[in-house]
Symmetry: C2
Subunit: 116 residues, 2 copies
DNA sequence: CGTAATACATCAGTGTCTGATGTATCAGCG
DNA sequence: CGCTGATACATCAGACACTGATGTATTACG
């Protein structure tokens, strides 16, 4: 019954938040659950990573936030992508894809020539 | 003429080093060049990341090292995978692949149901 | 003799994650 | 009516890895 969920790799979380919010505004707790769900419960989101990330993204102008009632009737802070946030999402997804491609090349490379 | 190379994502470097050394023993400088080459020069390896990583991996028992002459005749510290290093390589590649899969799922997911 | 490549190494600064801790509300159950 | 678990926020010390700067030294080339 060990927890086999994956740990976040540092620096990769923000783009997941941006992606989630591209579906529509949401509050922190919901963002966390959506990421868990859409990753089939493999990505572990600690609250200590979540709230600072939201703050960070808002400070960078990628998100706006406001207090509203959630569907349970409780107050919650809802976040929404700004236009800059949409651009950042596209750019960061592109960087991630390049990174994975380059990484995969190294992991699947065969040695050529001699070893130094 | 800007440098468009990708920055390392924290925590992803070690597996590249292990992979490179699975081709045979090498010294630090060579490891760095091989990763650059096999990634088509997209992955930027700073020396300040390289040498601490090698030390770290050796401390974890994943590498052995010894001083030998390189093919230029200069002395260099050559690193080689230990059996534990080979196991770690397999495991870390598997974790990386799971991570990419989960991540890709989130990035390509479509919203289902309502937003909280 | 100067420059570039080879080869090592250290370190302050930075930024992000983990895990613990804390507050508070609400629903459901017994 | 009191308990528990889910919802919802937030903070913070500690750990850790990367960037970019700096430093040493040798070899090759022109």
């Amino acid at each position: 019954m060990s927890d086999t969920r994956l740990r976040l790799i540092k620096g990769t979380f923000d783009v997941l938040v941006l992606k989630t919010l591209s579906w529509g505004p949401a509050h922190g707790y919901a963002i966390s659950r959506w990421i868990a769900q859409s990753s089939r419960d493999e990505l572990k989101i600690e609250e200590g990573a979540l709230y600072p990330a939201l703050r960070r993204l808002e400070e960078r102008g990628l998100l706006d936030s406001e207090w509203r009632a959630s569907d349970t009737g409780r107050d919650a802070r809802f976040y929404a992508l700004t236009p800059a946030g949409r651009r950042a999402l596209r750019e960061e997804v592109a960087v991630w894809e390049r990174y994975v491609k380059s990484f995969t090349r190294v992991l699947s490379a065969r040695p050529e020539g001699s070893i130094a």
